[in-house]
Amino acid sequence: MHLSRYGVRVPPIRLSCALALTLIAVALAPAAASATTIYAASSLSKVVPTIAPGNRTNFAGSDTLAFQIEQGAPADVFLSAAPLYAERLHAKGLCDAPVVFALNTLTFVTPASNPAGITRVQQLDRPGGYRLAVGGKNVPLGIYTRTLLGKLGLGRALQKNTVSQYQKATDVVSTIALGSAAAGFIYTTDWYANATKLLAIPVPTSAQPLIRYEACAVRRDGADTAGAKAVIARLLSLSGRQALFNAHFGLPPKT
């Protein structure tokens, strides 16, 4: 192949390389200098964007997020659905002292049409049982669910029924809403957000586990600590508490 064949035209390959590099550069440039990166439990996915709009958010199971931050993920704030994970990062020097900003409870739900005809949580004690969707044994939702079942004297319920376990609270919600599971345990806030698709079945209040959401500013080189503190201040502010209350979260005593 001779160079002269191209004449004075720019070889297409060079043109496309230049174009590709430009696109990559544009895509990698920070979207907005002010945006703070929030890593939040998936049960917060509706409320956090209303409290702290204009930031980058990553919603997943708290355990997954804690793992990602431990592996050096570029988070600025960590909003955990359980104290365990925020405290673990704090103990490792990966985030500041966590603060409680919201409370939650669990709700026992079936699909709106309740095809299995479940009326009481005690029905889970029957052998053979139902198809259930619950949180995995290492994620907050799953840990809380096991605490609740234990307090109800239903510790064996997860062996007696056909149980599918999920790492994300939202996967439990959709599995029940789509009818794959006959019932399951979800966060009360998630039930309010999907009340038309899910039927809530009362659970004795005395059996409820203590569910606390904790926030902490991530410590790493280049972290947007000021932005992180602003997000946490928003969560604790009057408007933040109002938004959490509207989304049916419980509120900790005002500090």
Binding site: Q165, S180, A181
Partner: protein, 272 residues
Amino acid sequence: MTLTTGIFRGFLIVTAIATFAFLLAPIAALLLQVPIRDLPGLLRETAVTSALLVSLKTNVIANVIILAVGTPAAYLLALGRFRGRPALLTLIELPLVLPPAVAGIALLTAFGAFGLFGSTLADAGIFLPFTQAAVVLAVTFVAGPYYVRAAVAAFASLDRNQLDAARDLGASEGTVFRRIALPLAADGLRAGWALAFARGIGEFGATLLFAGSVERITETLPLAVYAQLDVNLDSAVAVGILLLAISGGVLLVAKLPPLWSPTRSSTPVGGW
């Protein structure tokens, strides 16, 4: 050789090195994460053993379905002359571009309890979610197109004169397919199947949403990796290496035969 050729060759070599370095670095890092001698202990956990059994059983069934149904279907698509053939060829690739989670939702909206065919299935006494049949369907749906696509390409590149010659000699259509087309397209079919198998054994998103993650029933190796991630990173990595070994072994087996049968071309006929 002109200067431009030299520069171009250098450019090719640099891109080849970059390709290998980028694709292999994470795999090498995975292998370095856990000492090899710890692997057997990590893999002996009951959760891993039962997930391995679920993965093998469901994937064997799914692959039998993919090969048994996909091969004749691809033959018709490749050599048949009928209206709408190009459209069908495109449609069959649609599952390839679906994000796995969307594939799972799609399967649920079709075969789930409240899905399109949910009540029909229920009348027949069939409930798919949380069953191994659902895992098989998810794997078949996600991996099948990889095979069918390659098989269509393999059959389409056959020399039609050879097929016609067999017909002229009195061979039935079935015999032409079995004795002429299949052996000639074998390399392409095998390469396509290897990719489909590797995709299927690693299937995660569609399986989780459609079949759920029920221990000993629908919890496959990829689902087990995810569940182990928080408890024990080493154990998750060990399962990852196991998956890598299975897929790598299959890919290798699919590529090997041309080495000992010199009459066959070592490049897949399909050329995907």
